[in-house]
């Protein structure tokens, strides 16, 4: 049965008294009865107590039972109240659909965007790597002037024998594999060559078969490969019996020994793994100069990562003592694997997360204002309910219930919105963002969303409740019927919220503005070549078939001449890389005739290997000397071309032509290099926002390489020659997969995809923030106008013109905005410094951006105020003053 009024629940003390009363009533009654039958009072008392039995035990027991009873009553009362609160709230919310819809949509937008971004950030940055005790895994990176962070086979051996605080070390290096299957196009795969203990160091188990056994990374062991699960599904029909069979990789037969579980691998994008087969020479001290391995270690349990890092550093210092020549000032550092992977992504992703949190704040501010307006409109309802006996806490609970429902429904809609947003985000994310493809809305993200929703609900419920002070209620009743009473306090809160909203939007807009401007600067950079009308693609010649330099050179000559002859191709050329494709191949060099310097202090330059037409295809100007010609053959004198930056940096006051440069690279025992015969213009080879590298070009014919980039300048759109170019490769060697097929314009776009991603995201969020702030501004101004109808009517009656009135209203909006803009700009000055590192050629205090944002906000504020201003100007004094 429902109770219509509430019995107060009994306290511990009340229960105690009740129990005592009940028991003493019993004893008294019994004693009285015995006395009435003629017994003496003392005797009667003794008898009554004896008849009763263990009274203390009974007392304790009854109290405990009564506690249970009260607790159950409290629970059921609470549930009943909650149910009626919810029913009432839903009825109320359905009664004002515009309010409800606006609030829910706004919250859904804010919460949804946050859930989506949080899920991405969580997937990329926060979620632990999928390996047991992954926090013990570290990358060992080396630092030495003029070298990358890679290491050598002897380094691995050194660490294995000297380290005490590590369980083990393993290494990996990149592997590109041409996979040839029957009745299928040859395919180029990316994988890793690893030490045999690779998977056991990661502590993962295979899906099928086994991982590598000890000794399989020696030159005499049979060739084995582990496939990734996606590759196994895609190319081998998920057939477990592939284990034990041989497949053809890089023109060799290799036995499949196992399949690695999807997601539980490293490197994450590898599709297959093969053991590195170190030769005796690889392991000798002779290779200590050439570094190409990445080292991974697992720190023992109970050893702190810092201690382990100290040990790595100590080992490296010992090595420097043993090999002072090669290891001069070389330092080792161990970084937690996850941190090493995430690296420089942290800052931009946290900036984006902060940006989306600001969007949520603005959304919340809008909803808060909506709630306040509504609370004002409902003052009389609240007053009546109070007069009917509803306690203040009951009213607050009612308000909280309403806002909870709003925020929970908003969050649910937000999660749906986030699902859609995630698919857009993932499609848009740059390929090199690690783990982003597997990011999903998981339990963590949902928990964060849920707590955000609860917090929002609570705050918005309490906020209007705080506004509705108990003392105001009588006033509210009196004025309530008209509902036109201006409440200075409430209006001040609303204005403050709107100004804050504008300020927040300004910070976002400035951030986005800076990034967008930076991106435009980046796109305006002259790459040093004309990217339009160039098609590029790559092939990799397997060493098994193309085992001699003449074979490679011969293949390359035929490829180039056939490609050049294709209709639609103006000129075609080959190289070891194309600009901006991420290839980085630096070597140290010496100039003949100069005093010899220590190996570790030799200068280094980026090496590019090109055919004569390469400069024609890219439109790189020849500044001095001559270009390569077909006569620069393998048996002709060795020649080289350098770029302008090379000359500026290494031969500033000399004539580079005629100088002989020798690089630290031997092919068939012959030191590579040559006489400089020409100087070409600079090309942005590495990245648009990086300094131009010094480049040392070698003729392809004299230095043939197995990884070949085919480039073609076309007359028509570049994609029109793609299939013809593929055909040329197929005709020459049907087992060669063609990959990295990209126009040069795509290449440029890919190279700035991260910057584009950040700028786009921030731009979208800033736009949403601006819209929300405009809506908020409109809402507050419109509400103020509706409250002032009476006053405005009087003004019109007294002769104020419509223009004057609307100017007054717009002025109010502009003043609010100006305050917000001012605060926002000041905050942006500080905030922009955080993204200064992400900016190219734009200062974080860029005045253009700041002024543009201020103007934009001004225009938006004027527009948002215009509609209510027009309404104000049209106020009919008669209607307004008659009241309602």
């Amino acid at each position: 049965m429902r109770r219509f009024f509430q019995l107060p629940w009994r306290t511990r003390q009340q229960i105690r008294t009740d129990v005592d009363d009940e028991l003493s009533f019993h004893l008294d009654m019994r004693i009285d009865a015995l006395v009435a039958s003629g017994m003496a009072r003392d005797e009667a008392r003794t008898q009554a107590i004896r008849e009763f039995g263990d009274i203390d035990d009974a007392r304790r027991y009854i109290r405990a039972v009564d506690h249970d009873i009260e607790a159950a009553r409290r629970r059921s009362d609470y549930m009943n109240d909650l149910r009626s609160d919810v029913i009432y709230a839903v009825r109320k919310l359905r009664g004002s659909p515009m309010f409800t819809l606006t609030a829910i949509l706004t919250l859904a937008l804010g919460i949804g965007a946050n859930t989506a971004i949080f899920s991405v950030v969580n997937g990329v940055l926060l979620k632990p790597l999928p390996f047991p005790q992954q926090d013990r895994l570290v990358r060992i990176q080396f630092r030495q002037q003029g070298h990358g962070d890679a290491s050598t086979p002897p380094d691995l051996a050194d660490f294995r024998t000297r380290a005490r605080l590590f369980e083990g070390f393993a290494h990996f290096e990149g592997l590109t594999a041409n996979l040839v299957r029957e009745h299928a196009e040859p395919e180029r795969l990316v994988g890793a060559q690893v030490s045999a203990n690779w998977f056991s160091l990661l502590r993962v188990r295979p899906l099928h078969g086994r991982f590598f056994a000890e000794g399989e990374d020696t030159p005499t062991a049979p060739l084995v490969v582990v496939l990734s699960e996606p590759l196994w599904r895609r190319d081998f029909g998920a057939d477990p019996s592939i284990v034990g069979k041989q497949i053809q990789i890089n023109a060799q037969l290799v036995t499949v020994v196992g399949v690695a579980r999807d997601g539980q691998v490293y490197p994450m994008r590898a599709e297959l793994w093969m053991p590195t087969r170190f030769s005796v020479r690889d392991l000798s001290d002779a290779t200590r100069g050439a570094r190409w391995l990445s080292l991974l270690g697992r720190v023992k349990d109970g050893v702190s990562l810092e201690t382990a890092n100290d040990e790595a550093d100590r080992i490296e210092k010992q090595m420097e003592g043993l090999f002072p020549e090669q290891f001069r000032e070389r330092r080792a550092r161990s970084t937690q694997l996850q941190a090493a992977i995430v690296g420089d992504l942290q800052r931009p992703l946290y900036v984006i997360m902060a940006a989306v949190a600001v969007v949520l704040l603005i959304a919340c501010a809008n909803v808060a204002n909506l709630m306040l307006v509504r609370a004002t409109a409902r003052e009389s309802e609240m007053a009546i309910r109070t007069a009917l006996g509803a306690g203040r806490s009951r009213l607050v609970r009612q308000l909280i219930t309403e806002s909870m429902i709003l925020s929970i429904v908003g969050a649910a809609a937000g999660v749906m919105f986030a699902k859609w947003g995630m698919s857009v985000l993932i499609a848009m994310a740059p390929d090199d963002l690690p783990r982003v493809k597997t990011a999903a809305i998981d339990g963590t993200a949902l928990a964060v969303t849920a707590s955000a929703a609860l917090l929002i609900g609570l705050v918005f419920g309490v906020l209007p409740a705080v506004q509705t002070k108990a003392g105001d209620l009588a006033n509210a009743l009196r004025a309530g019927a008209r509902g036109t009473r201006t409440r200075r306090h409430a209006n001040r809160t609303k204005r403050f919220i709107v100004a804050a909203e504008v300020a927040l939007a300004v910070t976002l807009l400035t951030g986005a503005g800076l990034l967008i401007r930076s991106f435009r600067e980046l796109m305006a950079v002259d790459p040093g070549f004309q990217p339009d009308h160039i098609m590029t693609m790559r092939v990799l010649l397997p060493g098994k078939t193309y085992d001699t330099l003449p074979k490679i050179a011969d293949f390359a000559r035929q490829l180039e001449s056939r490609a050049s002859a294709l209709p639609g191709v103006r000129s075609a050329a080959l190289g070891n890389a194309v600009p901006l494709d991420g290839t980085s191949f630096w070597l140290s060099f010496g100039v003949r005739g100069r005093a010899p310097v220590r190996q570790s202090e030799q200068p280094s330059a980026s090496i590019r290997i090109v055919t004569p037409n390469y400069f024609t295809v890219f439109g790189t100007p020849l500044l001095k000397g001559r270009a390569f010609t077909a006569d620069d053959r393998g048996n002709a004198p060795r020649v080289a071309i350098v770029n302008q930056t090379f000359v500026k940096r290494f031969m500033p006051n000399e004539d580079p032509l005629g100088k002989v440069v020798e690089i630290g690279w031997k092919i068939d025992g012959v030191r590579q290099g040559g006489q400089i015969v020409g100087v070409v213009g600079d090309i942005r080879d590495d990245a648009l926002d990086a300094n131009v590298d010094p480049i040392f070009y070698l003729p392809f014919d004299q230095t043939p390489v197995d990884g070949i980039a085919i480039t073609a300048r076309t007359a028509a759109p570049p994609a029109s020659v793609t299939s013809a170019l593929r055909g040329v490769v197929r005709d020459l060697d049907p087992t060669l997969p063609v990959y990295a097929v990209k126009t040069m314009e795509q290449q440029v776009a890919t190279s700035v995809s991260r910057q584009r991603f950040y700028a786009t995201l921030l731009g979208v969020f800033a736009t949403v923030a601006l819209l929300l702030a405009a809506v908020g501004l409109y809402g507050v101004i419109a509400y103020a106008v509706s409250q002032r109808t009476h006053e405005l009517g009087v003004r019109v009656a007294l002769g104020a013109s419509g223009t004057r009135i609307s100017r007054m209203v717009i002025g109010e909006g502009v003043i609010l905005t100006a305050a917000g803009v001012f605060v926002g700009l000041v905050a942006s000055l500080g905030g922009a410094r955080i993204i200064a590192k992400l900016l190219y050629n734009v200062k974080s205090s860029d005045p253009v951006t700041f002024i543009a944002v201020a103007l934009l906000l001004g225009v938006v504020a004027a527009c948002a105020s215009y509609i209510p201003a027009r309404r104000a100007a049209r106020v009919d004094p008669l209607v307004a003053m008659r009241g309602d």
Binding site: D18, D21, E22, L23, F25, H26, D28, M29, R30, D32, E51, F52, G53, D54, I55, D57, A58, Y61, I62, V65, D66, D68, I69, A72
Partner: protein
Amino acid sequence: MASGPMDLLQGTLDVLVLRALRLGPMHGYAVSRWIRERTDGVLEIEDAPLYKALHRLERAGHVAAEWGFSENNRRARFYRLTPDGRRQLKDEEAAWRRYAAAVFKVLEPA
């Protein structure tokens, strides 16, 4: 061993209390007196377990309690059967009768 008072079987007291309350709302003392009169002192019933039973039955929802005034105008806690308690009583009564009938059947001379 015919003359002495007998111990109560487990759970019996609850039935007796419910049965007493079928007469109408009454306080604990009245319940105690009524049961004693009806059993003619055959069952040894102390008041402590009786009160425990009353509160236990309240927690179970079989009886409801309310403070009221006794015939001599003192504040007393009155118990009444809830619909739930009425059902419970019916069930337990039937169970008891079946139980007793079965025991009698066994004791009957063959």
